[in-house]
Amino acid sequence: MGTGLGGKPILNTDVFCFAPPDTLQEKIPPGVLHPKRIFRGVVAGVRDYGNRTGIPTANGALYFDERYLGNPIVFCGTVGLIPKDMCEKNANPGDAIVVVGGRTGRDGIHGATFSSVELHEKSEQTSGGAVQIGNAITEKALLDVLLQARDKGLYHCITDCGAGGLSSAVGEMGQDLGAVVNLEKVPLKYEGLSYTEIWISEAQERMVIAVAPEKEAELLTLCKSENVEATVIGRFTNDKTLRLFYNAQPVGEIDMDFLHNGIPRLERKATWHKTVFEEPNMPEKGDYGVDLKKILSAWNVCSKEWVIRQYDHEVQGGSVLKPLQGVNNDGPGDACIITPVLGSRKGIIVSNGMNPRYGDIEPYNMAASAIDEALRQIIAVGGNLGQVALLDNFCWGNTNKPDRLGSLVKTAQGCYDVAVAYGTPFISGKDSLNNEFITEKETIVIPPTLLISAVAVMDDVRKAISMDAKAPGNLIYLVGLTRPELGGSHYYHVHGYKGNNVPTVDTALGKKIMDALSRATEWRTVRSCHDCSEGGLAVAAAEMAFSGGYGITIDLKVVATEGVIHRNDTLLFSESNTRFVVEVQPEHRQQFEDIIKDIPHGLLGKVTPEPQFKVYGLNNKTVINENIYDLKETWQAPLRW
């Protein structure tokens, strides 16, 4: 709503990081709520606010790691639609400063600074006031009225009251002008706020707009007609000074230039020392069915249907590819697609990628892998790299400490290199630092957490592809190169290891693979497609099978590898990037193979009518032979709350 002259929110995406819900109560430090309780509370909050504001929550992810115990992370993103000619905004001297929407309260004082301080046992008591108390309907009414005001040209600059509240909203809008604000005019939720609290409260649902004097009356009338409060609290000036008054008493005066440019640039020291983790030495086994089930039931991989169904992912009527897919509407989709303009075939694809465990080993690869993951989800559903934009969200520990900052720098380098190589620009991002929790015994530092979100435009949504296996007899390919990259993998994780061979990204090859697959979907030779991420080939193929209600039989001998891989478990569970499991109808085989002939691929097997997921290993013996309904049950059981 605060971008340009205001966009219309068309989609929400929510990514949460918590400690595992089965964490033992004894391990919960004083001042911390159990992660299961936090999880339930966060889902309830997103459900109530997201659903009531009428924005579909159609994409998201959940990530669990013990180190989020003291600092759970909640990423919420919104995609908006804005007319191209409404992207520019500027306030003018003489414009009224109008605060629209909710009232100002004592909630959300120092919210922004709180989100970036180290937490401890007493934080619950000392920082409670930092939490804003939102009201979804105030927001929705505000949105309805603002879009009308925008289209009528009733204001020409708008900013939300985010971090810093009115202080940053007015400060930003008046940067090149100057402003006078009469703080006693700000409508309050209740009496008793000091002028400082009024000025910095981060109470929700408030927007500041700049309104030309001749439009004031019309704006106020419009707002009133829909029960939305709008109040003139000051004026923009041309003296390049910010002046605050409270009941005519001057309570603040500062030069705008100093306010914006006065802070000296800090220099920080960053170091990076690669940690070498224990390399597992697991004996080879004849059967990996148990390992597959362990990964399918891991918190990060298991079905998130319990969460997804509580969000309205279809409001606004544009849903094309839902988060849950397949014969029973319950398989794990790669990315979601919506058509925000009703009646148009143009779609928006939204996906995300994240893997903090890679970051423990090598932050650069974590960034590269997260971008690759977000992009391959776009490709998997039928998109292409042509019109993709990325966003980065950094949540880190205390970056005053050189090692934390070092991993952040390496991550940023990875972001830069891979985004440039793939030709996918970063258009926005955010950060939250100092995510550390101090207990009497230790300091819990969150893992370096980079969330990459990707947004793409799709010309014709009727070419979208879902991930569920479609029909017996169809061929199953693995497209992309498999390397022995089990470092940070879920296979190692379920066995208690981290390893060191973290997946790399070969952007030159990756781009070739993605472009080829986009051509293949464009020409409608792909029946289903699922990217390989956590759990590698085995998990991707198993998910396709049980989501489609058919079996899949594959042969590991024909997997395209870099060098020779001697182990079945490496082939099954390696998390090498830029790989896709693709289902092709036999009649499209020639056409599909023509498109992918220059990139590594293997025709691994086919979809079968028998509900069995069967994998033949390097020795021609079955290394996995599991009933798909058993696998599905294993995958669905953990979060069936």
Binding site: R47, N51, R52, T53, G54, N135, A136, I137, T138, K140, A141, D144, S225, E226, N227, I308, R309, Q310, Y311, D312, H313, E314, V315, Q316, G317, S319, V320, L321, K322, L324, Q325, G326, V327, N329, T339, L342, G343, V461, R462, A464, I465, S466, D468, K470, S528, G548
Partner: protein, 263 residues
Amino acid sequence: MTKPKIIIIRTAGTNCNQETGYAFERAGAQVDVVHINSLLANKKVLNDYHVLALPGGFSYGDDISAGKILANQIKYHLLDNVKTFIREKKLIIGICNGFQVLVKAGLLPSVDMQQQDVTLTFNDSNKFEDRWVYLKVCSGKSAFFKEGSAPIYLPVAHGEGKFITRDQGVLDKIVMNRQVILKYVDENGEDAGYPWNPNGSIQNIAALCDSTGQVLGMMPHPERHLEPTQHPRWTREGLREWGDGFVFFKNAVDYIKQNFTIR
């Protein structure tokens, strides 16, 4: 003006007005979305329309209970106009939150009742759920649905959709009067429990009309299955010409065209 005219009422927290309006437009109607404040300030405007639609959402946040505040605005400020609207053989439709409003305004199951006899309460699962359901048309009493076809497939998305009646007598009466328009069924058209019945409604009731058949309330969202690409399995089963929800809007527009001279 040759198109039936639809008025869609919105207020703070109304969410589905745009797609509902779009659906009526695709079916050949002209649509105006009007804020309740504006309608209450000029109630006569209602005379210009043939169909009054209360779309889905969370009117006033569903604070107090779902749809209650908007229901009271209609009950205490607009009831006479609404009664005239019904007397003139015009149609009223409430979808999801709109159904909750109609029930709590006392317009369903009968506009003449003395007390609220039915309600929509919290789902048995005790949470909001977005899922697709199969529905059987069990009565031809409403102009919006024709009886006897294969199950239709629409999504529900609500936390308070469990239909209950005050007592068995009320239930018997609405069943006998053939006011139950839609029932939740499984894909074969048979009665089934959760999740086919997503909320625990008695007798799997998903939609209800009034004694005249002109007022309809339904929990499922026909406007969310207009385009064939809205079907959750279109990538498996292929694209049809229209989604199952389209016929609902088409029937309403056809009814108006048949019963009114549209100038």
